[in-house]
Structure formats: structure tokens, C-alpha cells
Symmetry: C2
Subunit: 429 residues, 2 copies
């Protein structure tokens, strides 16, 4: 019995070793796999056979002359069978995607006109279930087998229980999300900003060290250091939206005042763009003449929250970032000024973040991706003004190519990582 | 030749394995070491012999009945031979300490009445050299052999070149510190706040996860996660002193405005305590009636830097924190109000830090250790007001038992770690 357990553990370890080597090389012969892993050719052949049977790898069919004078069939990760489901609940949309084991995005779906703040968690999860079922059905039609999923949510998640203790922008408190999900495969839950950073790592720029900023109604960040996500002591790191921009600024839903979210979150941006908020910085809506860090002529006025229920405080999603983008393209001065204010506040909060965590680059994602042409320069200028004297090189500010899709992609990518780390869990004995 | 190189590498690895096992257990027999390391008893005996000869371990002399019926002499780390030098250059003091391999602090020395801002790097290093020579001489008299040192400096250090690019509080720019040091053993250079955090880890509270705050003229922080220091992408993480408290606040030496250092650094504190600065928060110097995060009646007034050369801007060290402490004990309202303002600002900056890096505890060190009775509560209250609604548990704010000694101890501790990781480097073949 102990012998059998040991054999199973060793087989599991070796399957992961071989699958990892295939993933690292792209395509590789059995002989090369034996060299890479230190296993015998016989063992490698047996393991590759199991992985082929399980649909995790496939022979390329390309027969080349091997180095030792005999033809070698190459093995690569199969994109035809095993797949992962990425899900996201955000404040004003739901998203789902399916990624195959070769990391190709096969399906993407998102709802547009929803406001999840007006719905109960049970209703939101029911709608998410419908969306997920439709993409899983489509995936099955493509011959894919969805083996697991991860759900991104806009708030800190207790990773062991799957409980969302507080997602203030959804109005959720102590929602036992993991236990409400009904899927025929395991589905984990994690913070949206963490997953968006992983999405950027696996499907985006390819940078190994960066701080990824997820601009949504709330603002989260994910720090990737040498290809790994930094989670902090309890997994709650990266709450950039509640970094202090101005300590006596507008009241925030988190209980603090003057948090970044109150200047640069999607709601704050749109309220300002409708002319309903404080005069922006600078008041004329033009770029400031100086970015040296001197006191500005006009600062964001503080404590000017629109009263609850006032026009513009709860925007329908169809009036979301696309409404703002069309205003910006028209040259609307309120919209431009709102973006300047948000970009300045982002620069201030990110200067604190750079001082604390020293990232190699800053990637602006979520709504900041489409807004980048209007905010990127000012974020970079504010950072340079605040950091330039201390640091020889201020981290570059770049745009995410994934935008709002990053979190769902990172969620699916996390399932792929799990399969790669433990393929034995998927295979029959 | 290759065989010899391989043998040396294996011996080096095994020496570290055995020394590490002794360090982990405290005291342990050769038989137990063989079991712990998987090495044969003959190999262990040979390695232990080498370690004894090199003075790294010692037989306890305590002979106990071994488990297998024969007496077993126990081995432990020797505190009698190998020792490490910890050094610190700070703005208003120099410090040196010697720690033996058993992690006992054997010597501590610091200068009191210096102002290193008024001196050239070469002069400061000459004085440091004198201080170091005196403690090394004393260590030699105690039979210790100082095998290496690390120097803590208050600014970011390029770890590969040993160049301090910018220590604004010392007025140093691009000082090639490592190449200016003259010691008969290797001496590394690292950032003071990083080393203070490691000092706290190795010689302080014993917590494995915390953010350590080094309050000096400048304010640095070191984040320890699961017993390891987080350094960021370039080793410049933890610049808490330049986290934004108020974006249009007083001009900071770093080029930014309203950085924490301008509210809670030692100079800012003392200037405020002399009544030379802005009215503090709250203006009466009493604790605010509410800590709920509501707008205060009076905020710190901003942009009120004392002009250069004005009384109180450059305090002689003898008037340093001891002067402030005596004022506080007398109940001086300006001194108390200055501490309230500093504590509030620390709370604001730390709330940003907690949101970004999610530490398990906050340890206040440096000058904040003696000031803790006057600032600890307000730091904790401000954190709770800003974080309490989002996070179930706000990290506790505790006082460092090491205070200003933490950095020099961490510096010596880093040499000890190096010896433990590679004892072969010290031993003759």
C-alpha cells in the first residue's frame, strides 16, 4: 500500500515534470525530454503515452531527422481537448472566457447592460451561471472539455473559504460565493485585480516585473515580481483604490477619505465628466504648464461628493466608458478635465506605490486601457515630478493590451497553471 | 580537476547543511545530525570536525545517554570565535556593533553628538572607520575573529556596485561607498530601513510577517513576508517617507510635496515641537474627539516649511529625540501636538501601505520606539478609521524593542546569515 502510494506520488511528480518540460520547450522529442528531465527514455515514453491518452499533449506529426540519425516525432501541448473557464463578476458587467491548455483564447463573452449593484448576489450568480453555461456549451461543441474554472470578483476574497467579506462597490458583505456556485467542475474565487495582473503576465505584455492597475468602478492593482504575484500576508495586497490621494478628500465607500477611487474610479470619472463634480486639476482642463511638483494654481476641490441619488451618481452601464470616450473624442472640456484630474490622482497614488513596492513598470488596464491616450502622459508626468529626483529611472507607464478582459483571462490561466502543476489529477489510472 | 571541483562543491554544500541543522536545533548529537541530513555518520563526523576546527561549532561537553545506549556529545553553534560587524551611518549618529555566530550581541557603540550632513562622505567614513576599529579591537580582546561586516546607510543602495545614488537627508549623491571603505575583511553596504527590518526579524519580536518602520531624519520601511525581506524589482522598496500624506503639502527634499517625512521625520517633528511649524492636528494638541475618518475641524496647514537657515531647521544631535522626550514628559503642548500631527500622518501613510502590501503587523522602530507612548494610539486609531470597514482585522501597531539599534544589528545579522549559508568560505582546506 505504501509502495503504491509512493509509486502514485512519483508518477504524479514525473507527469508534471514531463508536461512542464513540453510547455517550456514548445515542441520537443521524447529523447530530448529524457535528457531534460533525467528520466529514462522508457519512463518518458510511458508518461508521454499517458499524457497523450489524457489529451494533454499531442504528437506534432512533424517527423524530423533526430540528432542521432533517427527520425523523432515531436510532442507539444494539445489545444484540442482540455480547457479552462475564466469568469468575472464586476460592478457593471459579467464576463466569461474559455482558454485551451495551449493558452489559446477560444471563446470570450461579456454582458453589457447590467448593473450588479442593483441585484442580489444570488441573482448575479444566476446570470453568471447562464453566461457560463452558454460558453461551456460552445466549448463542448468545439470538442473541448472544461476541467475547471476561476471566478474574479472586485473585492478581497478569503482564499480558503471562498467568502467575499466586503466588496463595497457591489454592496456585498460576507457572501459565501464559492458555496453558491453550481458547476460540474471545481470553480475557485479570487480577487479581480490579482487575476488581471496574472492575465497581463500570461496573455499580455510578457513583462516579468510590473504593477498592473485594474481601473473599474473600483481600482485594484496586482504586483508581479519575477513572474510571481505578490499577495501580502493575507492575500489582500494591491488595494490601490484606497491609497490616499488627499487625506481630507471626498468620503469613500471604504470608510476613508480622499482615496484614489474617489478621483479616478469609473463612477468618479463619469460624474466629473458630466460637470457634476469638483473643478478638475487644472481648472481650465488644459495640461498644467509645469510638472515639476510645484504647488498647482488649482487643486482638486475636496469634500464635494454628489449627494446620493443625484443625477449621475449611478450610471447605467451603456453610458459607461463608451459614453466617456465619445465625449473625449468630441473634445468635451468637462470630460477632458475629468481625465486630467483622474490621471493626476493616479500619478499621486502610484508615486506612493512606487516608493513602497518598487515595480519595474506600471501597466494601466481596465478602463484605463481605452482612456490611455487621455491619461497616460499625465500619469507619467506626475510620477516623474514626484519621483524623478530620488530615482534615476521612474518606472515606465504602459497600456495593457487586454483592458477589461485581463481578469477573466487570468482566471482561466490560473486553471491552466493548476493542470500543468498536477496533470495526474486529470488522468485516469 | 573536475572531480576535485565537484568534491569541493559537495563538501561546501554539506558543511552548510550540517551547520544549518545545528543552528535549527540549538544543540544536537552527531547521530541526530546524520538522521536530519541524510549523510552517513562518518561524513557527519568529518564535517563536524572541520566546523569545530574552524571555530564555528563547539561540543557542549554535556554527555547524555544517547537513544541507542551510548553517550552522545552535543554540538552547538560557537559564540566564542567567529563574529560579525554591523555598522550604520545615519544623519545624526554613527553606530557599530559586534554579534557572534550564536547571535549574541557582544558590543554596541554609537556616537552621539554628530551631524553627518555638515561633513563630507570621506570625513564621515573616516569617523566610522575609527569607531569600527575600536569595536573590532575590543572584539579581538574577547577572542573573537570579525569575518565580515555590513554598513547600513539612509538611502537606496545599488547592491551590485555599493554606490549610494541619492541619500537626500545626508546630501549624498553618487557616493561609491563600498570602494571608500577600508577594512581587513569584506564589508557590504545596504539600505538602513531594509537592515532594520531584518534586525527586528532576527533580534527583535520574532514575528515572521510585518512592516518595520524606521523613524529617523528620514523614514524608511522594510517589509518582511514569511521571514524574508521584500526588496522590490530594484531593491528600492520601502521608501515610506515619500509616501504621499497630502499631495500639495510641504516641499520635500525628494522633489515631491507632502511626503510623510515632512510630517513625521525627526526634523519635522522637532521643528513642530518648537512651535516653528504649522499648527498641528488638532490645533489644541488634544486627541481628536472622533477617529471615525470624518473631516477634522483643523487639518495640518500645508506649505509652511521654515525657510532654510531659520532657527530649528538643523538641530544639533544632542538636542535630538532626547530633547523632544523631555518636553513630552513635561507635558509641553507644542511637543505633544507635534507628536499628534506626526502620528496622524504616519497613520495616513501606513493606511496606504496596508492597502498596498497587506502586512500582518506594523512595528514602529527608530525614534518611534521611545516616542511610542505618545504616538502609538493615534497611529492605530487613524489606521482603524481608514481601514476598519474594508478589513476585518487592522494590523496591530507594536513598538520595536530595538529602536535605533535595529539597523546595525540587522547589518551584523546579515553577515551571520552569509556565514551560515557558506561556512566553507571561512574554513581552511
Amino acid at each position: 500500500m505504501t509502495q503504491a502510494v509512493r509509486h502514485d506520488a512519483m508518477r504524479a511528480r514525473n507527469l508534471a515534470l514531463v508536461l512542464g518540460a513540453v510547455g517550456a520547450r514548445g515542441s520537443v522529442t521524447r529523447a530530448a525530454l529524457a535528457e531534460m528531465t533525467g528520466l529514462t527514455k522508457t519512463t518518458v515514453s510511458k508518461l508521454v503515452g499517458d499524457l497523450i491518452e489524457g489529451g494533454l499533449v499531442v504528437e506534432t506529426g512533424t517527423v524530423r531527422d533526430g540528432e542521432r540519425g533517427r527520425p523523432g516525432v515531436e510532442i507539444r501541448i494539445s489545444g484540442q481537448h482540455v480547457a479552462a473557464l475564466g469568469l468575472e463578476i464586476n460592478v457593471d458587467y459579467l464576463a466569461a472566457c474559455v482558454v485551451d491548455l495551449a493558452r489559446t483564447v477560444r471563446l470570450r463573452r461579456s454582458t453589457q447592460a447590467v448593473d450588479n449593484r442593483a441585484a442580489s448576489p444570488v441573482d448575479v450568480i444566476a446570470r453568471l451561471g447562464d453566461l457560463a453555461a452558454s460558453v461551456v456549451d460552445e466549448a463542448v461543441e468545439k470538442g473541448l472539455r472544461v476541467v475547471g474554472g476561476v471566478l474574479a470578483v472586485p473585492g478581497p476574497v478569503d482564499m480558503t473559504s471562498g467568502v467575499v467579506h466586503n466588496a463595497p462597490n457591489l454592496g456585498w458583505r460576507d457572501v459565501p460565493l464559492a458555496s453558491l456556485l453550481r458547476f460540474p467542475f471545481p470553480v475557485g474565487v479570487e480577487n479581480e485585480a490579482n487575476l488581471a495582473a496574472l492575465g497581463e503576465l500570461w496573455f499580455g505584455s510578457g513583462l516579468p516585473d510590473f504593477l498592473h492597475v485594474s481601473g473599474e468602478i473600483g481600482i485594484g492593482a496586482g504586483l508581479v515580481v519575477r513572474g510571481r504575484l505578490f499577495r501580502g500576508a493575507h492575500g489582500f495586497a494591491g488595494e490601490l483604490g484606497h491609497v490616499v490621494v488627499s487625506p481630507d478628500g471626498p468620503q469613500c465607500r471604504c470608510g476613508g477619505r480622499g482615496c484614489l477611487e474617489q478621483y479616478a474610479g469609473q463612477d468618479a470619472l463619469q460624474t466629473a465628466a458630466r460637470g457634476a463634480a469638483a473643478p478638475v486639476r487644472p481648472a481650465t482642463g488644459t495640461r498644467p504648464a509645469t510638472t515639476s511638483g510645484d504647488a498647482p494654481a488649482v487643486s482638486p476641490r475636496e469634500g464635494t461628493d454628489a449627494p446620493a441619488g443625484a443625477p449621475g451618481t449611478l450610471l447605467p452601464a451603456q453610458q459607461g466608458v463608451s459614453w466617456l470616450l465619445s465625449r473625449l473624442r468630441e473634445g468635451d472640456p468637462d470630460a477632458r478635465a475629468a481625465c486630467e484630474r483622474a490621471a493626476w490622482a493616479l500619478g499621486v497614488a502610484l508615486s506612493s506605490a512606487v516608493n513602497l513596492v518598487d515595480p519595474d513598470a506600471i501597466v494601466l488596464g481596465g478602463i484605463y486601457a481605452p482612456l490611455f491616450p487621455w491619461i497616460g502622459h499625465m500619469v507619467a508626468d506626475t510620477l516623474k515630478a514626484r519621483l524623478g529626483q530620488m530615482r534615476g529611472a521612474v518606472p515606465p507607464v504602459v497600456v495593457s493590451r487586454l483592458g477589461a478582459e485581463a481578469a477573466a483571462l487570468g482566471a482561466a490561466g490560473q486553471v491552466i497553471e493548476q493542470v500543468m502543476a498536477d496533470p495526474a489529477a486529470l488522468l485516469q489510472h
